[in-house]
């Protein structure tokens, strides 16, 4: 009979540990709005900090806002879609000035937003819905133009005239990266070959990313664009093993494998997060979609941010080409901005002439 309490105790201990681990992953939360009067924000992320991508980037944006704008707030993590609605509701109950919600389940977010018309919501990166309630502002960050610049770098530096890309999944969002990249490669090197490799939705499996990149390198590619979240880390390890090169994505990944990652195509979720908080604080919040991209500085190359990791650590033969190439990229950026180069946008306009020229079937 004495076994029953013991068994219960064991289960309780396991449950307590699980809970403990769950709570402790609550993360780098700064204590709630203590400063009376200061504008407050709340950031709800769809996963743990440390994705090396948009979640970390959004957190960086809030830190910047705290420093520059004197706002206060906290970060709330909602690990699964099933938790999200509850987390959003409990966050609304704390009445922050604005709730920043990157990558959350659109249905939950919009349902809560409609019920609380006085609470402002900001989505710093893509939300795929047709319309938004009056209290929601959403950025959609277009990456095709900055991917074009990344592709141009790859096309200029390749010696085998073959480059590749490892993408997490075959969907319009990621193809916006790929077709922009492909167009950029072909702009620098018209007879180059560009090969995509899709990972079946594996965004956190570097082992699979490594195998996919190895397949590309063994096929003769010498630069691979990693658009696959944490799986992209496997692309970098494969590149290091093979003595080849890679291009990073989302945040500045140049330092993840110094001398191997040539440049990163950045999606500046930190910038849009900052912009949302700033606008809300200044009372300039406007509902609806805001398309932003290269022109707004929310997407671009890590070189544009002054990253010189590859120029410093890369092999001399390539590194010495970087300054000239960097100038050329700035020139191309101007041409994109003034409209003399039109880049294929596989997400918003897949039937355009630019896309048709790349073989994208709209």
């Amino acid at each position: 009979m004495s076994r029953t309490p013991l068994a219960l105790a064991a289960v309780a201990a396991a449950a307590a540990l699980t809970l403990l681990a769950g709570c402790s992953s609550g993360g780098p939360a700064t204590p709630g709005s203590t400063d009376a009067g200061a504008f407050s924000y709340a950031l709800i992320t769809p996963g743990a900090a440390g994705d090396g991508g948009f979640i970390d980037s959004a957190i960086a944006g809030t830190k910047l806002a705290e420093k520059q704008l004197g706002v206060t707030g906290r970060v709330v993590e909602a690990e699964s879609v099933s938790q999200q609605e509850g987390v959003i509701r409990s966050t609304v109950a704390t009445h922050p000035g604005i709730i920043i919600a990157p990558g959350l389940d659109p249905d939950s977010l919009l349902a809560v937003a409609k019920e609380n018309p006085d609470q402002l919501f900001g989505v710093p990166s893509d939300i795929y819905v047709d319309e938004l309630p009056k209290n929601v502002q959403a950025f959609s960050i277009n990456v095709h133009e900055s991917s074009f610049l990344g592709g141009y770098v790859a096309g200029s530096l390749t010696t085998t005239k073959k480059v590749g890309a490892v993408l997490g999944i075959d969907n319009p969002g990621l193809n916006q990266f790929f077709y922009g990249y492909k167009q950029g490669v072909l702009a620098a090197c018209p007879d180059c070959e560009v090969t995509p490799s899709y990972l079946n939705g594996e965004f956190s499996d570097p082992s699979v990313g490594q195998e996919a990149a190895l397949a590309l390198y063994q096929g003769g590619d010498d630069i691979v664009f990693a658009v696959a979240g944490l799986s992209g880390q496997g692309v970098f390890t494969a590149a290091k093993q093979e003595g080849e090169f890679a291009i990073g994505v989302d945040s500045n990944q140049d330092g993840d494998a110094p001398g191997t990652v040539i440049v990163s195509v950045m999606k500046r979720v930190d910038q849009t997060t900052y912009n949302l908080i700033k606008a809300a604080q200044a009372g300039e919040f406007e509902s609806g979609f805001v398309a932003a991209g290269l022109a707004d500085g929310v997407s671009g190359l890590s070189w544009g941010d002054g990253s010189t990791v590859f120029a410093d650590h890369g092999p001399a033969a390539l590194a010495e080409q970087i300054p000239a190439l960097s100038a050329k990229v700035d020139d191309l950026k101007q041409q994109i901005l003034d409209g003399s180069i039109v880049v294929c946008d596989a997400l918003n306009d897949p039937t355009s002439d630019a896309c048709a020229a790349l073989g994208l079937k709209g």
């Binding site: 076994r3 029953t4 013991l6 068994a7 064991a10 289960v11 396991a14 449950a15 540990l17 699980t18 681990a21 769950g22 402790s24 992953s25 993360g27 780098p28 743990a48 900090a49 440390g50 994705d51 090396g52 991508g53 970390d56 075959d170 090969t195 995509p196 490799s197 899709y198 990972l199 079946n200 939705g201 594996e202 956190s204 499996d205 570097p206 082992s207 699979v208 490594q210 195998e211 996919a212 190895l214 397949a215 590309l216 063994q218 096929g219 944490l230 880390q233 496997g234 390890t237 093993q241 993840d256």
Partner: protein, 338 residues
């Protein structure tokens, strides 16, 4: 030819962690324990392995610690089993616990949040004399480190072990615990040893991912390989002879889904391959189990076996305690009909 050699090479690497997980699942199942905590052991192995390898600069020590971490979870499972805790519930809890714990520890102590990369050298590939000089064979064997060969060796070792006296005892415990207990075998201890061994093996599988293959750790890097290993063990009908081919089905399906894209096979089709393989495998297992009820029976029963006799359920017949089988007093003769 080169493409095929590279494909096989990639398939072997992707199979290795699944093979370790499948071996762990097989050993547990044959000892009569439904072990669903393999995912957590793989992840714990991957994490502890790289942590120790990074701290000491010694990869071998890292792999050994990974085995120890997996064994520790196995021990926890065995202890809980002895207390009568439902292992299915515990295993699910453990899988969640280890996932969150690695994230928590990484964040709190390792600076890196999503990725931990201590800058170690991965375990170098084994150069096999003679074979590594042959043209195509060298490509197949390229980038395979000693953990890959250890996986193959373990399959043989486990197969041989099942033929030894102690291995037979383990099988007997799994097949018919009551009979094994009444024959004087220590059911609890046998299952404990099996769970600890299974944990160590799964832990090494995790170390292959972090220390062996990538040289870094990322959140949830086990990527369901523990679960795939359980499926592979089921597909192999928990027999050592089939476990490597069954694990290879999944590893090579994954490699195929990556490699076939280079030949203009549409990605939608290639991406279906791993899932398709798992589906077909489970259908095959289901059909087998229907005709020969052994597999499903083994699995259904395994989570219900009480470990220590006498059982507390009034519906089950109370077996004689272990060790007193032979000197139990004879039942009093029944004279009621006289």
């Amino acid at each position: 030819m080169n493409e095929i050699a590279d494909f096989v090479n990639s398939g072997i690497r992707l199979t290795t962690p699944i093979l370790f997980a499948a071996l762990a699942s097989m050993i547990s199942a044959r000892a009569g324990v439904l072990n669903l905590a393999i995912e957590s052991k793989v992840l714990a192995g991957a994490f502890v392995g790289i942590l120790v390898a990074g701290a000491t600069g010694n990869n071998l020590l890292g792999v050994a610690s990974a085995a120890a971490a997996g064994a520790l979870i196995g021990l926890l499972l065995a202890a809980a089993h002895r207390l009568g805790v439902d292992l299915v519930v515990l295993a699910i809890g453990l899988n969640i616990l280890v996932l969150q714990l690695t994230v928590y520890l990484m964040r709190s102590y390792l600076g890196g949040v999503g990725t931990y990369s201590p800058g170690i050298d991965r375990i170098p590939p084994v150069v096999v004399p003679v074979l590594s000089d042959l043209p195509v064979v060298d490509q197949v064997l390229a980038r395979l480190n000693w953990i890959v060969y250890l996986g193959g060796a373990l399959v043989v070792l486990v197969a041989l072990y099942f033929r030894t006296r102690s291995g037979r005892h383990l099988l007997a415990v799994g097949e018919a615990p009551v009979a094994a207990a009444s024959a004087g075998l220590d059911v609890g201890r046998t299952q404990l040893v099996a769970l600890v061994a299974a944990g160590a093996i799964a832990g090494v599988g995790g170390a292959f991912l972090s220390v062996g293959d990538l040289g870094l750790f990322t959140r949830n890097m086990s990527g369901d390989r523990g679960w795939i290993g359980i499926t592979a063990a089921l597909l192999a009908l928990n027999r050592p002879a089939f476990v490597a081919p069954a694990a290879a089905v999944f590893g090579f399906a994954s490699a195929a889904s990556i490699r076939l894209q280079q030949f203009d096979v549409p990605p939608n089709l290639t991406q279906f391959i791993p899932q398709g393989a798992a589906f077909i495998a489970l259908v095959v297992v289901g059909l087998r189990a229907k005709s020969r009820r052994d597999v499903s029976r083994l699995w259904r029963r395994s989570s219900r076996i009480p470990l220590r006799w006498p059982g507390r359920r009034p519906s089950t017949p109370v077996p004689t305690p272990v060790g007193t089988v032979h000197d139990a007093p004879p039942a009093p003769p029944d004279h009621s009909d006289r």
